[in-house]
């Protein structure tokens, strides 16, 4: 917000127009850093995914482009940029072109409400978590659009599966988030992070701040909530073991089978951005968000300007850690069948999340 004020004053002094000042300040201070963050993250994450999968299968992965292949994704990006943009003649052209943009916009929207540090959050809206849930609706619409406009049975099947899956798994996600809202009384992710300040035993997974009886009673239920939230967000981003929408062996690659070149890259970007987003949400809700578990170096050294930077690093590393766990799971578990997928959601996650919600509610009343 400091950046915003500075930019606003700077532009206002030049143009003498509040509207232009507002818009430029918003874009430069709010939207641009996110884009600058999302793109390199995707490059690193794709490389990590390859390396992690390789090492888990006793391989080495890319080794030749740069040291240990770290330039491989850059090379792939350049390749994708050069590729021909193929649009089959029976594709529904307007929707076909719009779909990747919608999907990417939907996942990018989520980043607006993520608190990266106490000094930087894209938009500090009061309804942070609910906004994130709402934004994912665009992703579903975009996926359906892509599947439909591709005019390809695999794409359509993949899109429908994906939409059904995301919608079903949104319920346990929301239920778990509801338990947290009930305890903390806020939907603002920044406030939520601020409440978990101090050391790691103040994190929600350890029952939140304070030292009352309810804190200790919360711990097992927070653990259950965390597991449910992690599983359902995993399903929402269509990662293995919940990747039946893009099951390579049966649906080629689902809703983006027909896409090539940059449009395909946008889907890819959205997928990895989503991975980070859900990991960041999990860490913001249960693991203190940008809060350091052990105190800040800036405090001990007496350099207050260092704290936001440290917070950002903590936030990023927590996010990346959960992304790594997602990859770990991906290379461990086989794909679920459709009926198993639905059984897991409706028979296990939702009832347990409900019971969890009620018990936590009772404890809060205590």
């Amino acid at each position: 917000m400091i950046i915003y004020d500075f930019l606003y004053k700077f532009v206002f002094n030049i143009t003498q127009s509040a509207a232009i000042g507002d818009i430029t300040a918003m874009i430069i201070s709010g939207a641009l850093p996110l884009l600058i963050l999302v793109l390199p993250f995707t490059l690193v994450a794709v490389w990590l995914e390859r390396k992690v999968s390789a090492h888990m299968q006793d391989r080495l992965g890319p080794m030749r482009t740069g040291s240990h292949g770290w330039l491989q994704t850059v090379a792939d990006l350049i390749k994708l940029l050069q590729k021909e943009d193929i649009v089959a003649s029976d594709n529904d052209r307007p929707l076909f072109n719009l779909a990747p943009i919608l999907v990417f916009a939907g996942s990018y929207l989520v980043f607006a409400a993520l608190p990266f540090s106490s000094a930087y959050i894209g938009s500090n809206i009061d309804l942070g978590i609910i906004f994130i849930i709402a934004a994912s609706g665009f992703v579903v619409a975009g996926i359906l659009m892509a599947g439909w406009s591709s005019n390809n049975k695999y794409s359509l099947l993949g899109a429908m599966r994906s939409a059904a899956q995301i919608i079903s798994y949104e319920i346990p996600t929301i239920l778990v988030i509801l338990t947290i809202i009930m305890i903390t009384g806020t939907t603002n992710l920044r406030t939520l992070s601020e409440m978990q300040t101090g050391h790691f035993w103040n994190w929600m997974i350890f029952g939140g701040a304070g030292l009352s009886l309810s804190k200790f009673l919360f711990i097992p239920f927070m653990l259950i909530g965390f597991v449910i939230l992690y599983i359902s967000t995993l399903a929402e981003v269509n990662r293995t073991p919940f990747d039946i929408p893009e099951a390579e062996s049966e649906l080629v690659s689902g809703y983006h089978t027909e896409y090539s070149g940059m449009k395909f890259a946008m889907f890819f970007l959205a997928e990895y951005a989503n991975m980070f987003a859900v990991s960041a949400i999990v860490s913001a809700i249960f693991f203190g968000g940008y809060q350091s578990p052990i105190g800040y170096l800036g405090n001990t050294l007496g350099l207050p300007w260092m704290i936001p930077i440290e917070q950002f690093l903590w936030f990023a590393s927590k996010g990346v850690f959960f992304v790594l766990v997602q990859m770990w799971l991906r290379w461990t578990l086989p794909r679920l069948r459709v009926d198993q997928l639905m059984a897991l959601c409706w028979k296990y996650l939702i009832p347990i999340a409900f019971v969890n919600l009620i018990i936590v509610g009772l404890i809060t009343v205590l």
């Binding site: 090492h55 299968q57 006793d58 391989r59 347990i352």
Partner: protein
């Protein structure tokens, strides 16, 4: 009800067991090798690209006849009497100029049938197996050591010899009686 909780328990524990296995493998050294930089030792009797040592080849055409896919093409020219073609390493005397020895390696099925009949053991398998090309024509290997002009030379020499012989024969044929008579007289 009991089954329900058992299912949950099994689900969680088996996932954790699986995760432990993959985590362990994260630190197992890779079993793959960095292929073009590091290569596996090839087995002793590997069959790869053929090589023909032309110094030893006597142009007997045995290999071409043994080949099941006809990918060896050999042409030879007889030497003229004065020429010395040298000997092969196992002491055979060479009598033919090999003017064409092409192996179309694209057709070759690496059956090694051409290797055994060779009397001088000059056609054999090497350990080279990376010889892909962008054009198929480049996979036709020429082993002939003679230059084009030499080949022409040899052919011309032989043709001359033939012609001389033919001329001789013709001459003989026309004067066969007198010659015979002369011989008879002597």
């Amino acid at each position: 009800m009991k089954e329900y909780f058992q299912n949950i328990w099994y689900g969680l524990t088996t996932v954790l067991i699986g995760m432990r296995v993959t985590f362990k493998h994260l630190f197992v050294p890779a079993v793959t090798i960095q292929y073009p930089d590091v290569k596996l030792k090839l087995p002793e009797r590997e069959r790869n690209r053929l090589y023909v040592n032309m110094d030893d080849c006597i142009g007997c055409d045995q290999c071409a006849r043994a080949c099941p896919v006809d990918c060896i093409a050999i042409e030879t020219v007889k030497s003229i009497p004065g020429e010395d073609l040298g000997k092969t390493s196992n002491g055979k005397k060479k009598a033919l100029w090999v003017t064409k020895f092409d192996i179309d390696i694209a057709k070759c099925c690496f059956c090694q049938l051409c290797v055994f009949p060779c009397p001088t053991e000059c056609i054999y398998m090497t350990d080279v197996f990376e010889f892909s090309e962008f054009e198929r024509d480049k996979l036709v290997y020429n082993f002939v050591t003679l230059t084009q002009s030499e080949i022409e030379d040899k052919k011309a020499n032989y043709a001359k010899l033939e012609a001389e012989k033919a001329a001789q024969k013709a001459a003989n044929a026309t004067s066969v009686k007198p010659a015979e008579k002369e011989e008879n007289k002597q």
